[in-house]
């Protein structure tokens, strides 16, 4: 039996026996000795004994029934095959289910980009731009496939032709968050999808997603936070990153932006502020410049539209407030907003207007 085969068998032993990752972690902690720092799966299973639903035979065939969705493309990694950053930060970590349909990715600097599931439009755009900038410079972008900032980061990296990896809070083959089938296929072909849960495991407990965050932090050299609310799960990623000695980078936001309140607190606690992909690359000591952002010369605007543009920022401004601030009639504001949208300089968003 080759080392790889024995590895697959080991991990199957755990999963087939119904050991949850949480149980495995606790059992390893208990069984760890000076002589044997990483207990074998068999030892873990034996120690859990009667508490498990299945008695483990000596030989286990690699399971084919486990993966509901394309099990042949889902592999298990553990021990020495774990991403080195992760195993270095998180001893005995794993096992992980990996779905990777693309070519092998050589070892590269990696950045995690995380944030709130309810970002502002500005936050989404920032996430996309920073992800695209670092991905274009060859950095792998890791995130959690959640709505909002996470998905914007994945998409940004993919659009720049870069490599991105997603760590799931569920098992493979579960459509969560809903409607992300295309994105998941793209990521699987890019940097792969990772999960520590067996295929088919749905959302059973919110804790799954918090545990997922430590893997995101463990995979990355640095964690970039864009807009995290005061109780955002992204803050737990930052906490895990600090625990693993990773750099925590925060994109500063306006204090009026409640979606970013937690990120601002982190800045106060000593996180490093970054403005764009260039800043992130600089901190990672990567010299290749980020993709230049093409800046169009502003087209000629009617005076009312120009005046309104000066009032716009990343936070949605209601039309009524704009009319009052600019001293314009509502009709003039509506016309100006549509003109700005037409010129691609502003955008209606939810209950207001933002600058693009």
């Amino acid at each position: 039996m080759t080392p790889a085969e024995s590895l697959v068998r080991d991990v199957h032993t755990l999963l087939w026996a119904g050991v949850t990752p949480e149980q495995a972690d606790r059992a390893r902690e208990r069984l760890r000795t000076q002589a044997n720092p990483v207990p074998t799966p068999q030892a873990v299973v034996r120690s859990l004994g009667a508490r498990l639903p299945v008695q483990v035979p000596d030989q286990v065939e690699p399971a084919t029934a486990a993966g509901a969705e394309a099990a042949d493309m889902t592999v298990l990694v553990t021990g020495a095959s774990m991403p080195w950053r992760l195993s270095a930060a998180w001893d005995g970590g794993g096992p992980l289910w990996v779905r990777h349909t693309g070519a092998d990715v050589p070892d590269r600097p990696t950045v995690a980009i995380v944030g709130t599931r309810r970002p502002t439009l500005d936050g989404m755009r920032l996430a996309g731009r920073i992800a695209a900038g670092v991905a274009a410079a060859g950095v792998v972008v890791v995130s959690g496939l959640a709505r909002g900032i996470d998905q914007a980061a994945h998409r940004g990296a993919l659009q720049a032709g870069g490599v991105t990896t997603a760590v799931l809070g569920t098992g493979h083959g579960v459509d969560y968050p809903g409607g992300t089938g295309v994105l998941r296929r793209q990521i699987a072909a890019s940097g792969g999808l990772l999960s520590e849960y067996a295929p088919g495991r749905g959302v059973r407990h919110p804790h799954q997603f918090v545990r997922r965050n430590r893997i995101i932090a463990g995979l990355a050299d640095a964690v970039v936070l864009i807009e995290a609310g005061e109780r955002s799960g992204a803050l737990s990623t930052a906490g895990a990153a600090v625990g693993m000695g990773r750099e925590v980078l925060v994109v500063p936001a306006s204090p009026s932006n409640t979606a970013a309140a937690g990120a601002l607190q982190l800045l106060g606690a000593g996180a490093t502020p970054v403005r764009d992909a260039q800043d992130v690359l600089h901190l990672l000591k990567i010299d290749r410049p980020a993709a230049a952002v093409d800046t169009d010369p502003t087209p000629a605007l009617p005076p009312a539209a120009a005046e309104l543009l000066a009032l716009l920022g990343p936070i949605p401004e209601p039309l009524g407030a704009l009319a009052a601030a600019a001293g314009l009639s509502v009709r003039a504001v509506l016309v100006a907003v549509s003109e700005l949208e037409d010129a691609g300089l502003a955008r209606r968003h939810g209950d207001g207007v933002v600058r693009t």
Binding site: V330, R331, D351
Partner: protein, 494 residues
């Protein structure tokens, strides 16, 4: 003994159908039989009339009375033929002279004549009419040449026999109509005010979005006050529908205020569109004809019920088929709807709904439903200090004057408001720049293809409000901005 003839009218929808009542009083097995009216209504009418005649000293005694209502295949509903049956019998008994008046009224057992619903639409176009005294002011609106209103059967006999002068119908109480709610009460909301003004000027459909308590219903209730008073024909149509559903206010003159109907969101399709057993009765869409139909909590309505609005909105009428017959009611309403932005209705504390729930909620506003509206202003939560201060904004009278001017300009092109005018008429007045703006809005996904024509109409109204003969680029921009929340607002992803 001969046959007595009297005339009455049955209603099929709002359409009057002449009914000829023949009464034969002769020898035979005693009885009072009414033919030509289906179900128990016939025998009930017979018993009532028999008692009423006896109460007036004209009892038919031990004779055989046979009454026929012709034509038999016109559906006849209600007790409105009582008076005509009684008069036909009296004519057969030669107690009153023959006349060609149309008789409408229900009889009590003591011979009094009671009012019936739907008098006004029944007698439109008739020349000689006799109705109950209680229906006199309503009947007077029809301007018939000769109107006789009687309180009981004896009075009718006395008048037609020349023993009593014709009673003058009381003049309608011309109380100045209660002033409706005024726009002055609306604090702030500049965007919504402008949208309401544009909608009123062009008859466009309006969707008010915003958190609960910000004043959506308040604004909606002020829309009818901005519309011009109804012309004769329309006011009569509105009064006819009100009469049919029993909402006509007795003793009042012709109400020229545009109607306002606000059915609850649990209403059935029958309540909204019209329906019921036998011949369908008018629903809220018909009560709101020439006025405003207000649907609060739009997203709580069943999609099926709302789907039924599509044909009335396109055709201006609603046609309902039932076993007893098909009726057509007017339904030329301006739709004003209101909805929250998410199921929890975030007040000031921010939304607490899960993103996918919000997505699903807002998905209800896509496609066909969104295509039915032209403007969707956001109603902003009112800051507390603004509530305490004076209103200070424009009054209904000021805005209504501008609306009237814009409508007058639209009238020079087409007899219909911009929302209903032929699209060629509207399109002809657009400058190439304006068309360009709309085309660009479609190409960047801000307007749906179906929204294009609707935006063009709104732009026409904006130009009418500005007093310009052609649609300028500015007007097109404003129309696109008013539609912004309808066509591509809900996709948060950039």
């Amino acid at each position: 003994m001969s046959v007595g003839i009297a005339r009455s009218v049955a209603l099929v929808g709002l359409e009057p159908r002449q009914v000829r009542v023949e009464a034969h009083v002769g020898q035979g097995l005693p009885g009072f039989t009414v033919l030509g009216i289906s179900g128990a209504a016939g025998s009930q009418a017979g018993e009532r009339v028999r008692a009423a005649l006896a109460a007036c000293g004209q009892g038919v005694g031990q004779r055989k009375v046979l009454v026929n209502l012709a034509p038999a295949d016109v559906p006849k509903v209600g007790a409105r033929f009582d008076l005509a049956i009684a008069v036909a019998v009296l004519r057969a008994l030669e107690q009153v002279p023959a006349r060609d008046d149309v008789l409408l009224g229900e009889l009590t057992l003591t011979g009094q004549v009671r009012g019936v619903p739907g008098v006004l639409p029944s007698i439109l176009g008739a020349t000689r009419v006799t109705v109950a005294a209680g229906d006199a002011t309503e009947a007077a609106l029809a301007r018939t040449a000769e109107l006789l209103a009687v309180a009981d059967l004896r009075e009718y006999m006395a008048v037609v026999n020349g023993d009593l002068a014709v009673r003058r119908p009381p003049a309608p109480v011309d109380d100045p109509p209660q002033p409706g709610p005024d726009m002055v009460d609306v604090v702030g909301q500049p965007e919504a005010r402008r949208a309401v003004e544009v909608a009123a000027a062009g008859g466009h459909h309006l969707l008010l979005l915003g958190p609960p308590g910000a004043g959506k219903s308040m604004l909606a209730r002020r829309v009818p006050g901005l519309l011009p008073p109804l012309e004769d024909e329309r006011a009569l149509q509105v009064a006819s529908v009100a009469s049919l559903v029993g909402r006509f206010r007795p003793g009042r003159g012709l109400d020229r205020r545009p109607p306002f109907a606000a059915p609850h969101h649990t209403s059935s399709a029958a309540a909204l569109l019209g329906g019921g057993s036998g011949l369908a009765r008018p629903g809220a869409v018909s009560e709101a004809t020439s006025g405003v139909l207000f649907l609060d909590e739009l997203f709580e309505w069943s999609p099926r019920t709302l789907d039924g609005l599509r044909e009335p909105m396109e055709e201006g009428t609603v046609r309902i088929a039932r076993a007893a017959g098909t009726v057509t009611y007017p339904a030329e309403f301006m739709l004003v709807a209101a909805g929250n932005l998410c199921p929890c209705g975030p007040a000031r504390s921010g939304c607490r709904c899960r993103p996918d729930v919000v997505d699903r909620y807002r998905a209800r506003l896509t496609g066909p439903l969104a295509d039915r509206f032209d403007l969707a202003p956001l109603i902003e939560p009112v800051p507390a200090q603004a509530l305490a201060g004076p209103g200070g904004d424009e009054s209904t009278a000021t805005v209504a004057a501008r609306v009237a001017r814009a409508r007058a300009r639209a009238l020079t092109r087409s007899p219909l408001p911009n929302a209903r005018a032929a699209i060629e008429v509207v399109r002809r007045t657009a400058t190439p720049e304006a068309v360009d703006v709309l085309v660009r809005a479609v190409s960047r996904g801000r307007l749906s293809a179906r929204g294009f024509d609707r935006a063009m109409r709104v732009a026409r109204t904006c130009a009418d409000l500005a007093g310009t003969p052609r649609i300028a680029a500015e007007d097109a921009h404003e129309a696109v901005a008013h539609r912004a929340r309808l066509d591509r607002v809900w996709d948060v992803a950039a």
